[in-house]
Symmetry: C2
């Protein structure tokens, strides 16, 4: 079971076996994922093509194409406000089964506790187990918990923040057809995001959306959001 990290690239970035990495991709690979020169990762074009790739300066050196049948064709990142108790274990398990690429646990204004480093190890172990049981080709990446405000910097042309209160359109009506190569979705804590968090997210390019008329718990919302995204990009 491969634990390789994944990035989504535009087809035009790949020329003659070399992937020209954008500044954001270089930052994500070396600063967020902490890959070093020569480390391997997977480049995916969001249309079902995958390449095993090696980091070489500002480039990715393609080593070989990969055949993948149980992975979603797009990279889905979930920013999930940490719920109380052990609820996050189940979120990691379900979202891994549903095909998530990256889970970023975030600390929000209403999140009470900074989790221990042991928790992060535990979540990564759960993700590895769930990936195997659900017959995925890859283990999703679980990032270190960061403040929600920092996670807003993650770039994608499709970014959504789910918010139960307020009269926002349903996520299902906002997803592009087809979904482009990467998508980011944020779901809130018990009690919801604060107004300031929603405003900041919108200012950072997130679209505020609803997951329906009922109030979902913090542990249910990411599973529902991912169910809709997975179904929308399943062919």
């Amino acid at each position: 079971m491969s634990q390789l990290q994944r990035i989504a690239i535009a087809p035009s970035q790949l020329q003659q076996g070399q992937i020209a990495l954008t500044k954001e991709q270089q930052h994500y690979l070396t600063r967020v994922l902490r890959l070093r020169e020569g480390d391997r990762f997977i480049a995916m074009d969001g249309k079902g093509k995958w390449w095993l790739t090696q980091l070489a300066g500002e480039q990715g050196q393609v080593l070989e194409p990969l055949v993948v049948e149980t992975e979603l064709p797009v990279a889905v990142t979930l920013l999930i406000a940490l719920p109380k108790g052990n609820g996050f274990d189940e979120v990691v398990r379900c979202c891994t089964e549903l095909g998530v690429t990256t889970i970023a646990p975030v600390l929000s204004d209403r999140t009470l506790l900074q989790p221990s480093p042991q928790k992060l190890e535990r979540w990564r172990r759960i993700a590895a187990e769930a990936a195997e049981q659900s017959e995925r080709a890859f283990v999703p990446t679980i990032l270190e918990p960061v403040a929600f405000s920092s996670s807003l910097k993650l770039t994608s042309s499709q970014k959504y923040i789910c918010e139960a209160r307020g009269n926002f359109p349903h996520l299902k009506d906002c997803l592009p057809q087809p979904i482009d190569k990467e998508i980011i979705i944020a779901t809130g804590p018990e009690g919801g995001w604060t107004q300031l968090e929603v405003d900041n997210a919108i200012a950072s390019g997130f679209q505020a959306v609803s997951l329906g008329r009922r109030i979902l718990r913090a542990v249910t919302a990411p599973i529902v959001a991912l169910s809709l995204v997975s179904a929308a990009c399943e062919v």
Copy 2:
């Protein structure tokens, strides 16, 4: 928080404040739900209209129209093969949040244990709590566990059985637009349905569908199926 049971009716069944109940509806109300003469229930037309109704012989006597904003416009029944351990608690909680009308726990060929009566009481308590927390108008009905073969008799023009193995179309591509007034979806146990169970379901009018290319656990599948149905009938 009202614990009233619900049935879906065709608009033509309602005339001058009287609902002419079909034989199946009479059986469901009096045998499955065990309502008695004079007991109240809710009739819904699948298009957002709701009536508080009283059982009167082969008729339902309409008492008053209801205004409902947090309920799905259609009646969704989930037939869920009981998973191992306490996993069903979380299934009841999540499905209640997502708007399920009726949960029928079923015993399948690969379900090992008949649950104790205490479990049923516990699930009903969880459903009542979750309905309140998610701001629903009604508490879903949790039926007594029955053999899957018996549950196949439930009638609806839209019946689906989710099966991970085999090359079935995705549920999202099989749901009618719009979803008619009631829908039944069956999800399997750890290890999946047996071939005989799938064959029997198909012979009883169920359509076999997939929930995606990855293998979902028994506790994840009903949440995913219901997420898609809820989103599809949300306006």
